[in-house]
């Protein structure tokens, strides 16, 4: 509804106010008159009337007033905005995620206008003051108006790039909820669920975009494990130690089906491959059942799409599990030769090396690598894991 109003009025604040007016009217009227047959159409019609009233009262933009007044029928019977609604929503998502806006603004604007969260809710989710968040939203909306950021679905030559921007905003939102980058709570499932809802919406709006489906699958699969990721003390639990019976089997089933549907379109992308990796993990009833050969092959594909030392490191782990610690170590040495510098402060690099050395029985070398990792690790749960492993190998030393 807000999306349609933004399109017809071109005024973000007016659109939001009128949508709120319409909701207030619904709360007043529906309990008395009963819920209308098409509640969405009813709300849009009421909101449009409010917009007309306000524009008329403001006595500005006579042309705008005419435009709003003539869009769609007033009785809401065969509401054309129902069809346009989906496209308007997509336009809104693309506009909110326009690269001319800063990424924090893109996220805030998406939550405010697409997800319909209130400013205080968004401020709480990002641990910012309400005033700061309100200011961020005001600035973003002002820039859209002043700089002439178009309210539209990008033309074909920009579609891939801009879709990528929308997908990254949704994934950022999900990760903000999944591994809270700040604050005392490790996981804020509310944000994850909101991100999933928006990804669901986006993939329904763009059925020919397998990456949208891939992102949805990835989020659904990761979120399916959320109950097992935190122990009773509120600490993170590593994947291999999670109680797999507390994973959400229904969500895993849905996620796997989504990955397959995306891959059937035969235009693989990074989100689809990451989702396929998540599906491999999710389908293993025990950590020992994991199909590491498949995961290693998927990381190799991902690495070809988005080369990064972190992807390579994950690949080395998978190779080490699939083909044995020797093969994993060989991969790791290759990686160190190429990207040693960019990985030198990354605790997982010595941690992975230490685990491979431990499995080879090279306890003295493993102990050294565990100590390197312990010096770099920042989260308490992972520090405890590394300390325990270090204790084990150190105890066996003469």
């Amino acid at each position: 509804m807000v999306a349609t109003l933004i399109r017809v009025t071109g005024d973000w604040d007016l659109a939001e106010e009128c949508a709120q007016d319409a909701l207030a009217a619904a709360l007043e009227r529906w309990p008395v008159d009963g819920i209308p047959r098409t509640p969405g159409a009813w709300l849009t019609t009421v909101a449009r009337h409010r917009a007309i009233d306000r524009l008329r009262r403001a006595k500005t933009g006579a042309a705008k007033y005419l435009e709003v007044a003539t869009v769609g029928s007033a009785d809401g019977s065969a509401d054309p905005s129902q069809d346009d609604g989906a496209d308007d929503l997509l336009r809104l998502m693309f506009t909110c995620c326009h690269p001319a806006l800063s990424v924090p603004s893109q996220v805030a604007l998406t939550l405010r206008t697409v997800a319909g969260m209130t400013t205080p809710e968004i401020a709480r989710a990002f641990l910012l003051s309400e005033a700061t968040m309100a200011q961020r939203l005001v600035r973003a909306k002002r820039k859209i108006r002043h700089a002439g950021i178009p309210f539209r679905i990008p033309p074909p030559h920009q579609l891939v790039e801009r879709t990528g921007a929308v997908l990254s905003v949704l994934y950022l939102l999900f990760n903000e909820g999944y591994s809270a980058s700040h604050g005392t709570e490790l996981v804020r499932p509310g944000l994850c669920e909101e991100a999933i809802r928006l990804a669901r919406m986006l993939s329904a709006l763009m059925p020919d975009e397998p990456e949208a489906l891939g992102l949805l699958a990835l989020m659904v699969l990761q979120h399916a494990r959320h109950a097992a990721r935190i122990d009773s003390r509120g600490d993170l639990v590593l994947l291999e130690q999670q109680d797999r019976t507390s994973w959400d089997g229904e969500a895993i089933g849905e996620g796997c089906a989504l990955v397959e549907a995306a891959l059937r379109q035969r235009r693989a992308g990074p989100f689809q491959v990451q989702a396929a990796i998540a599906a491999c993990h999710a389908q293993a009833a025990e950590a020992g059942d994991t199909d590491w050969a498949q995961i290693a092959a998927l990381y190799e594909r991902l690495s070809a799409m988005v080369p990064s030392p972190v992807v390579e490191l994950n690949r080395a782990v998978a190779v080490g599990m699939a083909e044995g610690p020797d093969a994993g170590l060989a991969q790791l040495d290759q990686l160190a030769a190429m990207h040693g510098e960019s990985l030198k402060d990354y605790y997982l690099f010595p941690a992975v090396r230490a685990d491979l050395l431990r499995r080879l029985g090279r306890d003295a070398d493993a102990a050294v690598a565990y100590r390197e990792a312990l010096a770099l690790v920042t989260t308490e749960a992972e520090r405890r894991y590394l300390a325990r492993r270090h204790g084990e190998v150190a105890a066996s030393l003469p």
Partner: protein, 115 residues
Amino acid sequence: MRYLLMICEDEKALEGRSNEENGAVLARYGALMGDLTERGILLGGERLQFSTDATTVRVRDGEVLTTDGPFAETKEQIGGYFLVDCKDLDQALEVAAKIPGAEIGSIEVRPIWEM
């Protein structure tokens, strides 16, 4: 909507260019400006002399203060501008990306404050 595209470049890098290189860049500017004029987008555009030729004027308490050089000491200086009339920001960004200066410096795209 009208936008001012400010072409910001490192003047030291420009000074180091050979005559042939300068000629090639100028030819690209000429072709781009011709195309934009034909499409009714370009309203005006000029190259500026180097910032060492700039003079900055300030008036404080009614007194005119004149100083040599640009107001701010930054690595990149405005070396020229295009004034364009575009459908929306996306079109202005597309034009900006075609300006040769974007490849070595940057283009600041500013909407005109319409009165």
